[in-house]
Symmetry: C3
Subunit: 323 residues, 3 copies
């Protein structure tokens, strides 16, 4: 966040959700608590509400994403909003300020919230600075920087499975350097009181020393997950995997892939997480992905609940701000 910009309103409620940086423990816990009310058992009618009745949510995703787009769309619709989907590369349109013209145009059509995914760092804040006071910007992913709803759903899943955050050792494994998932998970978990966060990566995927304050760094996966309560695997980035030789992928799997044998080094009650989509056989072995310690599908279910919670919070905060 730049100086002079806040995603909070005067009451300390969210006006936007662009990053988890700067959000306090109480606010995160309130969002998790609210998300719990939006979870429901698969096979039952999903949790619904009419908190967003009359709202229009515009989903603007420059990067393709089946899961995150669908998750936001369902979260919006199940709270009663109308949704419009727009496929557009916002950052490439940003020449001559046309990005903001697009936003202003949709705002004039009474869009209440913009869910934006874009590869340009800072774009979400730029939009948030220029929308009307009643309009919210929600990040669905920002470059390598931030993915706040992913961080929240990871935290919710850990809380559900572990009962809290106080005594946990959480290992995040993979391309930490380029991962917005890792950054938002680290931020959420540090704020919520996880005492031990470990990052595990080969040297070229390790973040700069200035980042991840307080985290322990490991180059060895075996040592990094030893005794961990939570093992969070990251996706080997598609753009890297494409250029990679099969031998490279095999080498990555050998050194940083989570197998059942490796997982045995973690706490016996450890849970395995992955933000999806998985490269099976690369960063995670199929039997681990589908095994009893995996909570990967629960993460997806929690994703809808967390997004409903964020949208409902934004709507309530707006109602309270209204004169």
């Amino acid at each position: 966040m730049s100086a002079g910009f806040s995603q909070l309103d005067d009451r300390g409620r969210l006006r936007h959700l662009i990053t988890l940086d700067g959000l306090g423990r109480d606010l995160l816990e309130e969002l998790l608590q609210r998300a719990e009310q939006h979870t429901s058992t698969p096979g039952e009618v999903p949790a619904r509400g009419d908190t967003l009745r009359g709202w229009t949510v515009a989903i603007l995703f420059a990067e393709p994403s089946t899961r995150t787009r669908a998750s936001f769309e369902l979260a919006s619709v199940r709270l009663g909003a109308d949704v419009i989907n727009l496929d557009m590369a916002l950052s490439s349109r940003a020449k001559g300020e046309s990005l903001l013209d697009t936003i202003w145009t949709l705002q004039a059509m009474q869009v209440d919230a913009f869910v934006i995914r874009d590869a340009e760092a800072g774009l979400h804040e730029q939009v948030a600075r220029h929308v009307a006071p009643h309009v919210s910007v929600i990040s669905g992913g920002e470059a390598h920087v931030s993915h706040p709803t992913q961080g929240l759903l990871d935290a919710l899943t850990i809380r559900q499975c572990k009962g809290g955050f106080e005594r946990l050792a959480v290992a995040i494994v993979g391309d930490i350097r380029r991962s917005r998932v890792a950054r938002s998970a680290h931020r959420a978990l540090a704020t919520l009181g996880v005492p031990e966060i470990r990052i595990v990566a080969p040297p070229e995927m390790m973040p700069d020393a200035a980042e991840y304050a307080g985290a322990r760094r490991f180059e060895s996966l075996d040592r990094g997950i030893s005794g961990a309560d939570v093992v969070m695997m990251l996706r080997l980035q598609h753009e890297r995997a494409q250029g990679a030789e099969p031998t490279d992928l095999a080498a990555y799997h050998r050194d940083y892939g989570l197998t059942a044998a490796r997982l045995a080094r973690a706490n016996t009650q450890a849970i395995v997480m992955h933000p999806g989509p998985m490269n099976r056989g690369v960063e995670i072995a199929p039997d681990v992905a589908d095994g009893p310690q995996s909570v990967i599908r629960r993460q997806v279910a929690n994703g809808v609940a967390v997004r409903m919670a964020v949208l409902a919070h934004l709507a309530e905060a707006r109602r309270k701000r209204a004169p």
Copy 2:
């Protein structure tokens, strides 16, 4: 269907609809009866209901299709479901099991039914084998193998126009060998008691001898439609038509195109059907497509009704299975 897999539940109700093979006459007639209740006169408010209130239907079409996709979408929405559309080539994603990961991800977001069109034979069953007990898979077209809702809408249209199936001669004309439409129509009509089914095709488009048991085979269109009550023309497949020379298309029209003169050989009350989209001037002459014997648009209207009936049946069956 592979051994050990059934699309029916313990009560003999549909859990999925992947093929018409193995479905009994009573079940087909019940679906047609239910579909009748969902038909309505164009210009009046279309039949609606709330049988799917709270449901989420995911439409995953790997092959482009304006009409079938729209038909399923409208059928779902008019019964109160939320719909998410996903353009994705499922079969090409099937490496490393990521097809199932995509399905599981959407299922975790509480998708209740998947409508899938794909060019890979067997993919629908593969998905159906892996979804949760409350989730249904509906085929919107499977390779050259099966198109069950098309077979049902064809049967419904014939029953509406002819009052029944008992004394009919039905001629199916065109590229039978590669046609899922023909296979599903043949299955529906044979089950429903049509005594005479004829398949009419040039030798290279004729199916193997093991298929279409009981059907009479004709290479001559004139003889094949002589005295028929129903003439069902197939679309000359686009992928073939593209490579085809104009002279080939002209030759096909000369030998297998339905003209008014040829139609005169059929029963004077014969109806003309086509699954669409039509290649006018190739497999069917425009004046026949738009003539008084054509029921092609009625097929489209029945398509929505049949899909509503299938979805409503699936929802009812699920409710009865629930503890």
Copy 3:
């Protein structure tokens, strides 16, 4: 419109909206009045209704358009309609009459209104001639010929800002020759009684002498906007701008770009309009686009209201025609 075709029904109400040509002042004023009821303040719940409950609106746009498509979609949804979006190049499909087959197919699925944007002049009328009596065709833009809802929203914006049309001088500036926006604005304003319409363009962008009867023509922007009450800037067409050298764009801006200095020649109360999307720094300077005289975002808001008004008018007229 061709001889023998009318977009009005026997009562003089709209059956279609393809052009503003031939529509009387009373009808236009009624549409504007109705649109006023559908405007609402950004930040409040947008105007809604259930006039279109049970309707299905199909949006078929061959040309990409974020804003007009979203505007029609939101107008439809906020009046209670179901919407299906179809991306298809209608005119290129028009071979062998497949355009009409597509329309008839959707009509058989009980689509009540088609919103069509296409680059082929005459296509909208061709469709309107062939739909069922209860079905409406609404133009979302037709080649260089017509953009009737844009003309209505421009008129509504002028009336709101100026209190009427009687004493106004309106200057339309830019590529008049290729602009459907200019044609529809001219038609609306001439019918509604604007006494002085000026068109301002370089010679190669000036329309033929037979068009724009009664309008004053200017090659000089300075003289053309002198004393004007309304300055309506047109977008420099993208297909032209792409081929254009930066020097050409700079020259266009120098000669025909609206700057603050130039705007000072207009009436001090003059409003500045633009149909969007803007080429900032080409036809309009950023400080003018965002300045106090700009009503560009209000045009967008009025666009939704006007489209709601047109849809509601069509639905009412249909109900009155029904036996």
